[in-house]
Amino acid sequence: MGACRTTGLKRLALCCFLISTTRLCVAQEVQNATVMSSVAATIVPTQSSNSADLPSAPEPADEIAQTGRADQTPATAQKQQGQTNQQQQKPETTPSLGDLGFTPQQTQADAQMQARLNERTHMLKVHQTLGLITTIPMVATLITGPQAKAKGRNGEPITEPTAANLDFHIALGGLTSGMYWTTAYYAIFAPKIPDVKPKGAIRLHRDLEWVHGPGMIITPLLGIMAYKQENAGEKVHGFASYHGPAAYVTAAAYGTSIVAVSWPIHWKFWEK
């Protein structure tokens, strides 16, 4: 009887030990979760205006300032908000952003970068609009080119272009050149975003600037040479004779550049 009771007590003690061990493990997990949440709360701010019981995404520095905490640095304000939430709710019942393991760099609001992006977009929108408008005088210059050219073969009478045609072509060329470089200015001086590698259609768009950019320098120079030769009563010769081909190559590269940045194009204006 005594031996039986001793065996029973041993079993009971073993059972209690096993159950207690499991409970201790669970308690440890909860404690770990609490510690992790409190650490995370220092990383991620959580204050939801729309949902009283749920933590929210980080608020930007300026919004926090608007709530009357302008005297605090954003990081301090965010930390305090996180801690307040920590006290208000049980962290283990709803996950918070801090539980997910994002780095502070990933969650930190960057107002300076946002301003830079805004400026960049503004300048590139101007670049886009001006670039499209520039195609009008560019095409017109190409069309008026043949009328501004002396005609006739060597040894035969040469037909000089009329002064009006020549002046009109020169004016259009000048307008095209001015608009082109203004367009280029907005792309060249748009703020650069660090650590962004050009990818996709923008690459061809940017590569083609090495064709139409030099083309827009060479073509007017060759045009001036051709103009001087024609004014001297000569038929255009030498490098100046490449004024036309240079203009066509430049315009083709420019047009391709516009199409490239818009590619792939799906025409479906008829669909709602």
Binding site: C16, S56, A57, E92, P95, L100, T121, V196, V261
Partner: protein
């Protein structure tokens, strides 16, 4: 003796059985936003979401968050413009919180209430159907968040003066494993 043993066992073991909290961690994910313009159809994809789910007292709360700048549409210029338009430098994280009853988690379709925080705004979507597939100890949950630009006060970007469609549905495909 056996009766005593049973009583003691139940006294100790009952709280353990009552401990029904289940925690899930996001294993894999694909988040895809779709942007539509008469001249372009664009998908931006991110695989960098992180997530955690907790079921407690019959209610499940799942949180997924992803950096805005992790979305890749195949064009770096467009991606930067997207970050600018969505105020992604100021609000670098998009978070999605799904809440549903724990009982619903066993069915093939879960109807969840979603709270999305994006671009400094919070939008709520009620009764959004999510598909659930179990594979081994993993659970795949997928669905589409019917987001719109106006929900988050995003000025619709335009191309050739034509703005994109207001609808920017986000397809969410996630695989969860128990913690």
């Amino acid at each position: 003796m056996n009766r005593k043993f049973s009583i003691v066992f139940f006294l100790f073991a009952l709280p353990l059985f009552a401990q029904t909290d289940a925690q899930w961690v996001l294993d894999k994910s694909t988040l895809t936003y779709h942007m539509s313009h008469p001249m372009h159809e664009v998908n931006g994809v991110s695989h960098e979401a992180k997530g955690k789910g907790i079921c407690h007292a019959g209610q499940c709360s799942f949180l997924i968050a992803v950096p805005v700048k992790s979305f890749d549409s195949g064009d770096s210029n467009r991606d930067l413009h997207m970050i600018e338009a969505t105020r992604g430098a100021q609000f670098p994280i998009v978070s999605l919180r799904a809440q549903f009853s724990e009982a619903a988690i066993t069915g093939p379709t879960i109807y969840a209430d979603l709270e999305v925080q994006f671009a400094g705004q919070t939008a709520h979507y009620s009764h959004v159907p999510l598909q659930r597939v179990t594979e081994g100890n993993q659970v795949q949950i997928s669905g589409t968040v019917p987001a719109t630009c106006s929900d988050f006060k995003i000025d619709r970007p335009s191309f050739l003066t034509v703005p994109i469609k207001n609808e920017i549905p986000v397809r969410v495909e996630t695989t969860w494993r128990p913690m």
